[in-house]
């Protein structure tokens, strides 16, 4: 009899984050497929009330400690490791977000358990888990099996629709012991809110996004011209922000904004999962990339294998002509 399926209930500033429900939807399928229970692990402080929307699970393991109000991994990792050693779950689903990344890094080593990263899907086949993972920035798809239990699965955002895993009707909450370090060596001091940019890219109908393929800062102006003519804004992928070609307030993706405009033009963006999680909900996505294998073509509605430094100037003309 395999152990249960566990889901780490991730929180962000006092609320459960969306990925928690996505993981519950996936976890429900896995638990049913394996014929075991689905349990959500909730670590918080005076946070029992959060259990109310975790109804997709059969039970909740709740540990309470002030340490869990800090966005640090050590207390969570230590608590999960001792719980997992005691109860031997079959697997634990962890969301691949900036909030859980450190935990996903430390816990497998601490437990000596296998970790399967970048899961875009997980299925039960012949009573075993098979993970489908995205490797090399989206350029390869790998089927992965783990050699021991518990298996820790790092699951990409969007694995299932969140509303599938969002159910009220609080399941039974079992109090479990928190085990936290006496003297934490990583201490949270404060949050730094993002500086408000000149425009809020989450509120735009039209976004022209540039990636490393735009080659230099001057070329960003081409995108700026098109965006301005269309009444939209320019945004970018991480490397463009790291180079200082656009401010941080224009970053789309895991560490930046999640956007859902009516129109998203991706110029010279490869389509790494950290970028696409922030834009794949856009109404129409058009991708320009010189690489026919670029993963961005897997999320775009229209694609062209072309040099964005040729297309963008032509588009400046087209837009100007159409506007007359």
């Amino acid at each position: 009899m395999p152990g249960n399926v566990w889901v780490m209930a991730e929180q962000w500033r006092g609320e459960l984050s969306e990925i928690t429900y996505e993981l519950l939807a996936l976890g429900r399928e896995l638990a049913d497929g394996l014929g075991v229970q689905l349990e959500a692990v909730l670590l918080g402080h005076d946070a029992r009330g959060l259990a109310a929307t975790l109804g997709a699970a059969d039970g909740i393991l709740y540990a309470d400690d002030p340490a869990f109000t800090e966005p640090t991994a050590a207390a969570r990792s230590q608590t999960l490791a001792s719980l997992a050693e005691e109860r031997r779950p079959h697997c634990l689903l962890l969301g691949l977000t900036n909030l859980t990344a450190d935990l996903a890094g430390i816990l497998p080593a601490q437990l000596g358990a296998p970790f399967v990263n970048y899961c875009r899907d997980v299925r039960v086949a012949d009573g075993k888990l098979e993970a489908r993972c995205i490797l090399y920035g989206g350029k390869m798809d790998a089927a992965v099996e783990a050699a021991a239990e518990p298996v820790l699965l790092g699951v990409l955002p969007g694995v299932r629709p969140a509303d599938q895993g969002l159910k009220s009707g609080a399941p039974q909450v079992e109090d479990v012991t928190a085990s936290v370090p006496d003297a934490p060596r990583v201490r949270f001091t404060k949050y730094l809110e993002p500086e408000a940019g000149d425009v809020d890219i989450t509120q735009q109908e039209v976004l022209v996004a540039v990636g490393r393929g735009i080659a230099n800062e001057d070329n960003v102006e081409l995108a700026e011209e098109i965006a301005t003519a269309l009444g939209g804004a320019v945004c970018g992928s991480r490397p463009v922000i790291d180079q200082g070609w656009l401010p941080l307030s224009r970053q789309v993706g895991k560490s930046g904004a999640t956007v859902k405009p009516k129109f998203y033009l991706a110029a010279g963006i490869s389509g790494a999962p950290e970028h696409t999680e922030g834009m794949k909900g856009s109404d129409v996505i058009i991708a320009i990339n010189t690489d026919p294998d670029a993963p961005i073509f897997g999320v775009a509605h229209y694609g062209m294998v072309a040099d964005c430094l040729e297309i963008l100037p032509a588009l400046v003309e087209t837009v100007a002509a159409k506007k007359g």
Partner: protein, 257 residues
């Protein structure tokens, strides 16, 4: 302040990748390796800290094709030492490589304890673990990842780590510590080839034999496939003008132009 920057080679994902004959790994003939981008940022952050506070930077890597060029480049950029771990089988998983480093680094003369060990917080081939976090566990040091700013003085580091939506968290980290770097405070510095050549003539890479077996990976790839290119997209062709016109039509259809 003494800092270690850990560098690893990864496939350049801008190049064409093919599946090898075994159906579960990359075809090595097609592979072009580059330094993991996040590791370049880790090295840069180490050099920035040295520029500010003095001390030393040591670049560390497990032997791999092209690694000498990478280590000489690190020396040319300002690293004081370069250490290459040799006699390691090729193609180790991230987790196996990181735990091997955790075993070997303490045996390298005059290397540890360092005040900070910096490595990239992620790589595109991290199937079974994260280098920096596994290394921290193996070295029994505190860990913080997704770091985009570091300052340190005395025995604690003040570190910024990224959360969703552009929010950052400020942390105090006891040193020695391992940090997983997401981005250095300034873009990685450029170094002319001539300086790299000069480093090759005047400096040396210290070679240290691993002398230990890596642990077996607990996660096995059973099959690898290339996702269908453009799985979903309708592909458009034509001259730049024609393509721009098609984009214009799509915008017009939606009342956006």
């Amino acid at each position: 302040m003494n800092i270690l920057a850990v560098l690893k080679m990864v496939p350049d994902v801008v190049e064409e990748l093919e599946v090898g004959d075994d159906g579960k790994s990359l075809d090595l003939d097609f592979l072009r390796l580059i330094v993991n981008e996040r590791d370049e940022h880790a090295l840069e952050q180490a050099l920035l800290l040295k520029d500010k506070h003095g001390g030393s930077v040591t670049a560390v890597a497990i032997d791999a094709p092209e690694i000498d060029d990478v280590l000489f480049t690190a020396l040319a950029k300002g690293a004081d030492r370069a250490v290459k771990i040799t006699d390691v089988e090729e193609g180790l998983s991230t987790r196996a490589a990181a735990s091997l480093l955790a075993q070997v680094l303490p045996k390298v003369p005059n290397l540890l304890p360092a005040d900070l060990v910096l490595a990239g917080c992620q790589a595109t081939d991290d199937l079974d673990g994260q280098t920096a976090a596994v290394l921290a566990h193996g070295l029994e040091l505190p860990y913080l990842g997704i770091v985009s700013q570091v300052d340190a003085d005395g025995s604690t580091a003040c570190v910024l780590s990224e959360f969703p939506g552009g929010v950052r968290g400020e942390f105090e980290v006891d040193m020695p510590a391992v940090l997983g770097i997401q981005a250095s405070e300034k873009p990685p510095r450029y170094v002319p080839v001539a300086k790299v050549r000069a480093a090759m003539k005047s400096q040396t890479i210290e070679e240290v034999s691993a002398g230990t077996e890596p642990e077996a990976s607990l996660a096995a790839v059973t099959g690898m496939t290339k996702p269908e290119a453009g799985g979903k997209a309708e592909m458009l062709d034509g001259s730049p003008e024609e393509l721009a016109a098609k984009v214009g039509e799509i915008l017009s259809e939606r009342g956006l132009l």
